[in-house]
């Protein structure tokens, strides 16, 4: 597909992305924010780049909810801006990468319809950061039933997957949608040097998703067949044969069979067969992915990599601010908040 775009206009988009990245909050600010009281943090966010979003949403939300929605709105706007200012191959890659937000929004609308949530409740949970614009999401939320929502997506790539829904629980259709976004992304990446690293990043992300799922499903004692069917193929280190082997192991066997993979170094200090929580594993694996992304981000300045770096940096900023503000509001210990910050 990317063969269609022979002259990628990376110079323009990377220059814009660098300018935008300079506006992000520096890493050194997070420890300072962590030492602030909640009103000071709120004031800091309200006076930062998020001012416009905070002001626009202030009539609808209050306090930390206002901040969280403003952060989500800003994230969506930044990603949409990237799609608007990019052309050709880079636009195609960004759009494919952002499909995860479309999937998120479709899942949210369908879940809302399944539960019987109001239109407002559903729209409060969507983040318009993908190809589907907010007015389209509004129209989807207005539909009467799940069937109507699916019918409204007839001309999108998600429709063939959604037509498989036969009623009842949504987990299978949700997993199919997530898998679709990864499959499309893997197919979209071309063979230029920058894209090779982008592909490696996506493959690493798939490996990390698979590892997290293996830990969760094996801890819950889910059957081999279910585990095998849910895992995503196309990873970097965890090939199909590895996934087949690992999905047949017990939790304890899984823990002892991961030391051959590079991810083991990141998680070895928190993993044991007696572990009661998997949250630390998730955090360590997320940190591993972010470290890899920051490593490759400067390899090819005129490629998709600086764009990916900005996309991830913006997401990290939004997540960090939310973790600090929400963590302070919910009176989480500073150590817990700090352990979930990506700095």
């Amino acid at each position: 597909m990317c063969g269609l775009f022979k002259t990628p206009a990376y110079a323009y988009i990377t220059a814009r992305v660098r300018a935008r990245k300079r506006k992000l909050i520096p890493k050194e600010t997070y420890p300072k924010l962590l030492n602030m009281q909640l009103p000071e943090i709120i004031r800091f966010i309200e006076e930062s780049e998020y001012k416009k979003d905070v002001d626009e949403l202030s009539a609808k939300f209050k306090s930390i909810d206002l901040l969280e929605h403003a952060l989500g709105r800003s994230l969506g706007a930044s990603y949409r801006k990237l799609m608007d200012i990019s052309r050709g191959e880079v636009n195609y890659l960004i759009t494919e990468y952002m499909r995860r937000w479309d999937v998120w929004n479709i899942k949210t609308v369908i879940r809302g319809k399944y539960y019987g949530a109001s239109e407002e409740e559903i729209l409060n949970c969507v983040v318009s950061a993908g190809e589907l614009h907010y007015p389209e999401l509004e129209l989807m939320a207005k539909k009467e039933s799940i069937g109507d929502v699916i019918a409204s997506l007839e001309h999108t790539p998600y429709y063939p997957v959604l037509t498989k829904y036969e009623g009842g629980m949504l987990n299978k259709i949700e997993d199919e949608l997530d898998r679709l976004s990864y499959t499309r992304l893997l197919d979209a990446v071309g063979g230029s040097p920058g894209e090779k690293f982008f592909l490696k990043f996506i493959q690493t992300e798939i490996d990390i998703k698979n590892l997290k799922m293996l830990f969760r499903l094996k801890k819950a004692g889910v059957e081999r067949e279910y585990v095998q069917n849910i895992l995503i193929t196309g990873g970097l280190e965890l090939k199909e044969s590895d996934l087949t082997r690992l999905s047949g192991l017990s939790f304890s066997e899984l823990v002892h069979s991961l030391d051959g993979y590079s991810y083991w170094r990141s998680i070895s200090d928190v993993v044991s067969d007696q572990m009661t929580t998997l949250m630390d594993v998730d955090t360590k694996l997320d940190a591993h992915l972010m470290n890899y992304a920051s490593q490759i981000s400067h390899y090819y300045p005129l490629s998709i990599l600086p764009v990916l770096d900005y996309i991830l940096s913006k997401k990290i900023e939004v997540d960090n601010l939310r973790v600090i503000a929400r963590g302070k509001e919910l009176k989480l210990a500073d150590e817990i908040i700090r352990s979930h910050l990506v700095m």
Binding site: D65, E68, H69, G72, V103, W104, K107, T108, R111, G112, Y114, Y115, G116, A117, E121, I122, N124, C125, V127, M169, L170, N171, K172, I173, E174, D175, L177, D178, R179, K209, K212, M213, F215, R216, L217, A220, G221, V222, Y226, I230, I232, T277, L278, M279, V281, D282, D319, R322, V323, R326, G327, L330, K331, L332, I336, I337, H340
Partner: protein
């Protein structure tokens, strides 16, 4: 009004009173046994209640902590969206059992504790933080149902012990003494009437 003013000093009344005293005494004995039995049951349930209350408090803390972490890390929006994926509420059935004449509830629940693949949300797009928050809340709901059964049983037993104690005391200090007093009064009156009759007969003869 004194008992002497309301009671008729006749033999049939005396027989009736004797029967009532016998019945009251056996009732008193039975109620005392019931009270003691209920107290033993209460002590059994009291230990369970103490444990279950502390377990509920512990589970609540864990559930709240896990939910707070999920809200902070994943965001309230993500937690809410994921929660929409499950609409089945746990089913609770209420039965009853009899403990020494006291009807106490027996609460049974289904579909509280769910496996990760039964919670309705997809696995790929969610995280262990959501799983652990859901898991901790499922544990909490199960514990609350157990606590509800134990604490309601305890409350009902306490009410019944109080009621039985009042009945025992009423029989012991009010009903039986009054009946005995009435019986003594009738016996006294009957003896007196007998003496009067004997005296009258003697007087007629002389």
């Amino acid at each position: 009004m004194a008992i002497k003013d309301t009671i008729k000093p006749t033999r049939s009344e005396l027989i009736g009173l004797k029967k009532k005293i016998k019945l009251s005494e056996s009732g008193h004995k039975l109620l005392k046994m019931k009270r003691d039995g209920l107290i033993i049951e209460l002590f059994d349930i009291l230990n369970k209640a103490k444990n279950v209350r502390s377990e509920v408090e512990k589970d609540y803390e864990i559930a709240q902590q896990n939910l707070n972490i999920a809200k902070a890390i994943e965001g309230v929006v993500a937690v809410k969206s994921t929660a929409f994926a499950l609409k089945d509420a746990p089913v609770i059935t209420l039965e009853s059992k009899n403990v020494m004449g006291v009807v106490v509830p027996r609460i049974k629940s289904t579909s509280v504790k769910k496996n990760i693949i039964e919670r309705g949300y997809g696995i790929i797009g969610t995280s262990s933080r959501i799983d652990e928050a859901a898991d901790a809340y499922e544990n909490l709901v199960e514990k609350i149902i157990i606590a509800a059964e134990i604490e309601t049983t305890m409350k009902k037993l306490l009410d019944d012990i109080e009621k039985t104690k009042r009945r025992v005391n009423a029989l012991e200090f009010k009903v039986i003494p009054e009946l005995s007093e009435a019986m003594d009064f009738i016996m006294l009156r009957l003896e007196e009437m007998e003496r009067e009759e004997t005296f009258r007969l003697k007087k007629i003869k002389s």
